[in-house]
Symmetry: C2
Subunit: 665 residues, 2 copies
């Protein structure tokens, strides 16, 4: 195929994608037209020439990963997936943005073949791409040999002005520079327009200089010039040390003269020109049609892709033969079935009165030895959150085998990079910070929950009882606000045994993230409860920690550091039941019968005790119940003083009980 | 005073501050020693020479604002406030980090004279400083005249490696460059060490180049060289166009050989060397003592400060005399009593069936005309959130009078910059984004609530009913997670009248932030409820929207777009009460009697209806009540389909009621 013909057919494909994009958005009467049109030539170059993919084996190990960080341009992605031969039919394009379609408003991981990440909230995709690139570097380091490389795919990320403005992208790109992720190619769709108007209203920074400062190599091109795109991509793909930024200047809404280059092009207003676009681009008038030549070209292109795939397959089989140990290890990683957690960790772990963050550290060391897919990161708090994997170094360009990721004080990038690693599916990422700073990474936690990623968060320093650092460092509302994220499990264990149970629960979970909420301060070992009960109990979310010995009169519910006080009071009252409730989400997954065994509906006298805001507990105690909680910000003082001030003590609980009893008498 | 003597006495003062810092942290057995020691010379240069301040009039209009973004170095700030003569006594230093002290673990606004902002969560202070600089530019533009300038103070911000790594600082500094905030001086305490170890583990970016890319002018110095600090500060202070960054290389823990330069210096471990520090620095052995010469120097320095103050005062009085109109306007801004909201906005506003975001837009235009302290910003969503103040331009270097702030897609910087403006206290800031993206700015919202800042947030597109954009853009858990932030009022009005009430509630509130949660879609005007009741009802958080006409059998609670369905069902049942509950926080501030009038405890049959997660409602309906809510992520579909899927309809509510009635029979 001549270079000339290639340019011509790719331009024709670009225009064909414009037609499809317009058809989709016009049919849905909703969607983001401008970026999807502006990216047409970039799409043609990528899907028609540059990317390596396998349409019917969309998770092929060696595929290039394409992340559309500018997720609002989903129509663009679907159009190209269709043209490239993925299982995204014209019918799917017709049902763009409709209920139960494969083509929702923003790309959703797991729903559409070829969609690598769920995107939409701006900037997240850049973090995801950095995570995918980390994963790729690690895979190459683990499995490539000097004689045979099997992992050398690229991670390509399409991002817009909005992605570049979000702080999470600054954090993530600084790390990409530090880690020398030469396999990362960011394509910046620099269309110079945001929703509210010209970019100049909100930005005049020198983006190229900024990215060079991070350690990127930067090239600048006309994003509508297909041969330029191909040329700079090839150059970027040669990189051995620096991550790559391609600044592609494009015209938003390119193809519709009336709106192109203006913020009006962003949304769906351009569909007023739907009738004009196809004839102007020389396309058939029929909606959802593709020119024959374009269809033929992509058919041939798929054959070329198959040849590349076959060549890799041969290489891969030779590798499997020559390095059977590695091949076996790879199979285990790929099957994702490895979480060899022994049923009883007790023998390995001396039981102790200790902070649950310390208990967690010991469990982690143990399981990290058994399961080498686990990798651990921290936002500069390894030393406080205690989740560094011992015996392994920091991940770095020099040492990609390192299992620890030092994210610096960049919680948000940590969250989105962990997601990227989890999307790739080989490694199981763990990330840590103080509970109060989970707020900084909340948008990434939400995406992990939505995309069913099995990320594990270690959030320590879990209540006002962190003490003298004061209210900025004392979590109050974070437990409640994490508990209301759908599909996130929040576990707050009460002692070492419960911490082991919490870790098991986290490791066993594969369809969503888990947050382990751990104490800074020492907690007693709750030996009045059988070990097995504590460990198993955590996994079902709640269990009876102390059963009444006469008629049940009152139930106290507690979690974490407060369970000890509930138990102390429970000892004094035969008619009292104490329920440990480390995880509300798991409790809610029990059957009604199982739940009622723990919380009999007949007993409505209930008190909940937790050093955090009350909101989640009313579900279990109701308006007539009581919640001993922390509903204002804390203050700088000793843990003891804070505990007394907020009434988080056995004495206070006992007083409440006595008062209740008097009221009844 | 000779230059030589000045250098010498400032160095002695620096060492004196080291002594005090060590004494405080040793007495508290807690605190962050390393940075507080490393900043000693910078402190001496600032407080002993460069800054303009008035110790007994700490809110002097023309003072330089110093923000300690690295809030963990609070001991440093308190030591210097003491030496500079602020009302921070040696006794206060002795009670560092103790309950009820003026010297808490991290600086708290309103608690300590001379503390401009509450800081601690890293990066926030940089955003605050940008906000203070915006406020200063606006004040100068509003009040300075060509013949007489009264506002030309500087905003100085001390930040560390952690602040620089956080994405919020990237966002905020890009805006500082855009807005040419020449009055902003960032002093970067580049000590090359973070909590987990050498900075190189998490960063190798070229910070200078990065800041030049934002549009900063950058100077680099030895942060222990006092004359160098003074020299570059003076140079920075000359800036007319570019914000300034001073990269000050310091040694963390400087003064304690055993730990300096290492991450061990960060926390309190250095207090093991407390006994050695004072003699090594040539200080008296007595803890909490200050060398006579240093005390004398600062006494004289206060006199010099008073002279500067007096000169300004003379200038100010002349200005007052010459420009009485401006002086009057300034008095109003300073007194912060201006919120001239007419009791009845109705005449100005045609009532309509409209989206509450549109109703809000109309109210805003009206009140913005009456109250020129209001300024409005958006994270690139003015066009969707509809909160641009009409008839005014964007704030910019060329037009500092502009009342609209285009933040770009930078929610987090928006939040922290709004806080900075509110800390300054002249302007009342409003900021907008989609409700789902409030997550991006959550750490800043928390700080606004903690510091009692009267910021107003406009969060639109308030439920899954935004429709086809899909789950990434559909808020589910955000309402609950905002409601659990202490001291934040969350208001979700149901129609235009309630929206007016919500705005009044927000404008009247002075001791904390308010979030207005507004619909994208049109909502009917709820004319079955008297206008006054809707408007007043919002301000008390909840009210009886439809009263039962026979014995009360059941209560339906609802907010926002769901209230219409509750009312529709309510019409059919004489024994049903409908309660509109747009603001739980305001409801909780009512007396018990007031609350029970709205929600009689005798009636336990209650159903809550809201297109958001159920968590906050159990407080009002209890375990035996029902919440019709949205507790999973949504999906990309039409609003109608989503409404049906989640049962957010009158029909579904009626079915539930019928079922309940059957169960009782």
């Amino acid at each position: 195929m001549s270079k000339e013909y290639l340019s011509k057919i790719l331009q024709r494909s670009a225009d064909a994608s414009r037609g499809l994009v317009m058809d989709m958005i016009a049919a849905a009467k909703s969607g983001h037209l401008g970026t999807a049109l502006g990216l047409a030539e970039i799409g043609a170059a990528l899907w028609g020439n540059l990317l390596h993919y396998h349409p019917t084996e969309p998770r092929w190990l060696q595929r290039d990963r394409l992340v559309l960080s500018a997720g609002h341009a989903s129509a663009w992605l679907y159009a190209w997936l269709h043209l490239a031969g993925f299982d995204v039919t014209l019918g799917d394009l017709r049902s763009f943005r409709q209920k139960d379609s494969k083509t929702p408003g923003h790309p959703e991981f797991g729903l559409t073949p070829g969609v690598e990440c769920s995107t939409g909230p701006l900037g997240q995709g850049i973090g995801n791409a950095v995570g995918l690139a980390v994963s790729a570097k690690k895979m190459a380091a683990e499995f490539d040999t000097s004689s045979c490389g099997i992992f050398d795919h690229k991670v390509v990320c399409i991002c817009g002005d909005g992605c570049m403005q979000e702080g999470v992208s600054s954090e993530a790109c600084s790390l990409a520079g530090l880690w020398e992720l030469s396999n990362l190619i960011l394509i910046y769709d620099a269309n110079g327009v945001t929703l509210d108007g010209p970019l100049g209203h909100s930005q005049n920074e020198d983006v190229i200089k900024r990215f060079e400062a991070y350690g990127f190599e930067v090239q600048e091109i006309d994003g509508h010039n297909i041969s330029a795109i191909i040329r700079v991509y090839h150059q970027a793909a040669q990189s051995t040390r620096k991550p790559q930024l391609i600044v592609a200047h494009t015209t938003i809404g390119c193809g519709i003269a009336a709106i192109e280059g203006s913020s009006k092009a962003h949304g769906e207003s351009g569909i007023a020109y739907a009738g004009e676009l196809r004839p102007q681009l020389g396309l058939q008038k029929d909606e959802f049609s593709v020119p024959q030549a374009v269809g033929d070209f992509f058919k041939k292109h798929r054959q070329r892709q198959m040849e590349i795939y076959d060549q890799w397959q041969i290489r891969f089989e030779a590798w499997e033969r020559d390095f059977p140990e590695r091949a076996k290890a790879l199979k285990i990683l790929v099957s994702r079935k490895k979480s060899p957690i022994p049923l009883d960790m007790k023998d390995m772990l001396p039981m102790a009165c200790e902070a649950t963050r310390n208990a967690s550290a010991r469990v982690l060391q143990y399981v990290a030895k058994e399961d080498d897919s686990l990798i651990a990161g921290s936002a500069d708090l390894f030393s406080s959150c205690k989740n560094r994997i011992e015996g392994s170094e920091d991940f770095s360009a020099q040492n990609p085998l390192g299992r620890n990721l030092s994210f610096g004080v960049r919680e948000h990038a940590m969250g989105s990079i962990l997601n990227g690693i989890a999307y790739d599916g080989f490694f199981r990422p763990i990330g840590s910070t103080f509970l109060v700073f989970s707020d900084y990474m909340r948008p990434a936690i939400r995406m992990a929950a939505m995309a069913h990623l099995p990320v594990i968060y270690i959030f320590t320093h879990d209540s006002v009882l962190v003490g003298q650092d004061g209210p900025t460092h004392q979590p109050v509302e974070q437990l409640a606000s994490l508990r209301c994220i759908p599909n996130l499990d929040v576990l707050r264990p009460a002692d070492t045994e419960e911490t082991m149970g919490a870790w098991r629960a986290a490791l066993e979970r594969r369809d969503g993230p888990t947050a382990l909420i751990l104490s800074r301060q020492d907690l007693p070992l709750l030996e009045s409860i059988p070990d097995r009960l504590r460990r198993q109990g955590v996994r079902q979310g709640a269990y009876v920690a102390k059963r009444e010995s006469t008629n049940l009169r009152e139930i106290i519910l507690a979690s974490g550091s407060e369970l000890q006080h509930a138990l102390e009071v429970g000892k004094q009252h035969a008619d009292l039941r104490v329920v440990s409730m480390p995880c509300m989400e798991r409790f809610e997954r029990l059957t009604r019968e199982e739940k009622e065994k723990i919380l009999p509906p007949s007993c409505r006298r209930r008190i909940a005790l937790e050093a955090a805001c009350a909101q989640p507990w009313y579900r279990y105690v109701g308006p007539e119940g009581q919640v001993l909680s922390v509903d204002t910000f804390g203050f700088s003082a000793s843990a003891d003083e804070l505990q007394k001030h907020f009434g988080l003590t056995a004495t206070h609980l006992e007083d409440i009980l006595q008062k209740n009893h008097l009221e009844v008498l």
